[in-house]
């Protein structure tokens, strides 16, 4: 029973159903891989005992012939932004020191109800603010991939960097992520896995530590499009505890993926052909177009004229919402407290000690753009341009069914690069952030390797609540790309 941790969810479910191996064996294989590769720093907390106990319970249910859930016995990693009852939840921040939630997030509760096994809590950029996992209080995560003939340690992307590394390094069969500006899709692209950001409202945000509430969405990170469809089906659904979650039936996503793309209208936005776009990324994008065409799709050039404003709009709206959401970290109700001479002094000292540099930067930007005298000029203007960005997509989707773009402007970069200039780091999300502003579903699918042997992804964007088409087109890219490369040694 070697290397069970290399199985896809679909294959593992089959092996469990035919009693070829047990959930205990499968979980043990993952736990051993986690132990072997601790130097990657993917996990903040490992929950071995809980994992083995849950796996055994799944095996007992199966032996007794009880009803099995859609993910029964499947070991998963959970991003440390999801509150897990009784298990340390840090959001990658010092300010949540020792926080053991007394409740379970809806999305993780849905996974446990379906029989899934929790391996532990995954490292991430602090409060999901970052594109490298470099802002975590718990230290950076290393990407299992290396450039050919070069031992430089690379970032896994972020903010869901621990999730991406855990899945790519075969520690977990899949993981949860969250995506506010690209935090699922960019790390998925950097580590050669599939990552899907669902439509805003598709998954409940209840119990997920809030960053920017009008943009945040949970989603799956997996090794195949089929696994992504299985995970999404369990994570998604209406939740009365999240007033923005939408009361729509959850389709059978797995059934949708093999439909093919014959006759599908695929839009290629000309504004994404940035000046200075790397020739390798441009080539991969053309290859993606050719793959979909060969399978019968109809390709159309489209225009999304406000694309270039999406990142600056995001860097007003997200910090504004964050400054409001992060006001709750006051040293009174949970986490870190640094004593002070007065209440205000305690607040200021606690927040200075508890927030890292990037979080402090964004809270201050947010505070500024919401402050008297600047609110109209910055915040309201950004919200108006956000409406124009949504309108760009609404207009485009009158003519096309799905949009194809690169996932990221580059492959994974070195652990020591891009930290001096915040704006250079922000540009990582240039292709993904529009999707959050418009609230649409987007998937990144591994599509090839660059000349230095690093994975690159292609992104597909769909209409609101049309994850089925996104998955179906993603499957077509996956089928054509036939991406079987693995990081060396994994």
């Amino acid at each position: 029973m070697n290397e069970l941790n290399h199985l896809t969810i679909a294959a593992a479910l089959q092996g469990l159903a035919t009693k070829t191996f047990t959930a205990y064996d499968l979980t043990m294989a993952c736990l051993m891989q986690m132990e072997k590769h601790r130097e990657l720093n993917a996990f903040v907390t490992e929950t071995q005992d809980l994992a083995l106990q849950t796996a055994m319970n799944s095996d007992i249910r199966r032996a007794q012939g009880q009803a099995m859930g859609a993910l029964d016995g499947i070991p998963l990693g959970i991003k440390d932004l999801f509150c897990t009852e009784g298990v340390l939840t840090t959001a990658g921040s010092h300010i949540l020191d020792g926080f053991h939630p007394t409740y379970e997030s809806t999305v993780s509760a849905n996974l446990w109800k379906a029989g899934a096994v929790m391996l532990g809590k995954l490292n991430m950029d602090e409060f999901a603010m970052g594109s490298s996992n470099g802002t975590s209080y718990y230290g950076p995560v290393t990407n299992p991939w290396r450039r050919k003939g070069d031992n430089t340690r690379l970032v896994p992307g972020g903010s869901s960097g621990g999730s991406a590394t855990a899945v790519a390094a075969r520690m977990a069969l899949a993981a949860t992520g969250t995506d506010t500006g690209g935090s699922i899709r960019q790390p998925a692209a950097f580590t050669g896995i599939v990552g899907l950001k669902p439509t805003y409202g598709r998954c409940s945000r209840w119990g997920i530590v809030a960053f920017a509430s009008s943009l945040d969405q949970a989603g799956p990170m997996c090794r195949t499009v089929e696994d992504t469809a299985i995970m999404l089906g369990v994570m998604a659904g209406y939740d009365p505890k999240d007033s923005t979650s939408v009361d729509l039936p959850v389709p059978d996503y797995r059934k949708a993926i093999e439909g093919g793309v014959k006759g599908l209208k695929v839009g290629v936005p000309k504004e994404y052909r940035l000046d200075g776009l790397s020739p390798e990324i441009a080539k991969l994008w053309e290859q993606g177009v050719a793959w979909l065409k060969e399978q019968g799709a109809e390709i159309k050039e489209i225009t999304l004229p406000h694309t270039k404003y999406a990142l600056p709009v995001y860097y007003i709206i997200a910090p504004a919402e964050a400054s409001s959401n992060l006001a709750r970290y006051d040293g009174v109700r949970f986490g870190l407290r640094v004593p002070g001479e007065s209440l205000d002094d305690m607040y200021e000292q606690t927040r200075a000690a508890g927030f890292g540099k990037e979080v402090r930067r964004r809270v201050m930007i947010g505070t500024y753009v919401l402050s008297a005298g600047y609110y109209d000029a910055y915040y309201l203007r950004a919200q108006r341009i956000r409406a124009l960005i949504l309108k760009d997509f609404t207009d485009a989707f009158k003519d096309v069914d799905v949009v194809l773009t690169p996932s990221t402007p580059s492959a994974a970069f070195g652990l020591e690069e891009k930290f001096d200039d915040p704006v250079a780091m922000y540009l990582n999300d240039v292709f993904t952030v529009t999707v959050n502003l418009a609230g649409l579903p987007g998937i990144s699918v591994p599509a090839g390797l660059d000349s230095r042997g690093l994975p690159l992804g292609l992104q597909l964007i769909g209409r609101a609540f049309d994850e089925e088409t996104v998955l179906r087109a993603g499957r077509a890219i996956e089928r054509a790309a036939n991406f079987t490369a693995k990081p060396e040694g994994f």
């Binding site: 270039k308 986490g335 200021e348 309201l380 203007r381 124009l388």
Partner: protein, 95 residues
């Protein structure tokens, strides 16, 4: 328009984050770098465009006006850095 040290100090106070004077020059540079990059939004014509707070335009759902949670002070206080007799403890705020 660019931010100076006095403004950045004021923003830090509004955000309740202690910033030491020695950190100010670096922080002023970083924030100005970001705000300068954001200035490009001024070139967009937004005449007649309504601001968009979120992607859902429908009215928020309502629930029945009944008590459906609460009565669990131990759970609420469980993660407090300091709590006693069923209350959060904070520094004295009234002289």
């Amino acid at each position: 328009m660019s931010l100076d040290q006095k403004q950045v100090k004021h923003i830090a106070t509004l955000a309740r984050i202690r910033v030491e004077d020695a950190e100010l020059p670096g922080l002023v540079n970083e924030l100005n770098g970001i705000m300068t990059w954001i200035e490009q939004l001024n070139e967009v014509d937004v005449t007649g465009v309504e601001p968009m707070a979120g992607v859902q335009s429908r009215a928020l759902p309502r629930r029945a006006d009944v008590i459906n949670d609460g009565g669990d002070p131990e759970k609420v206080l469980k993660n407090a850095p300091d709590a006693t007799h069923g209350f959060f403890v904070v520094p004295k705020v009234v002289e």
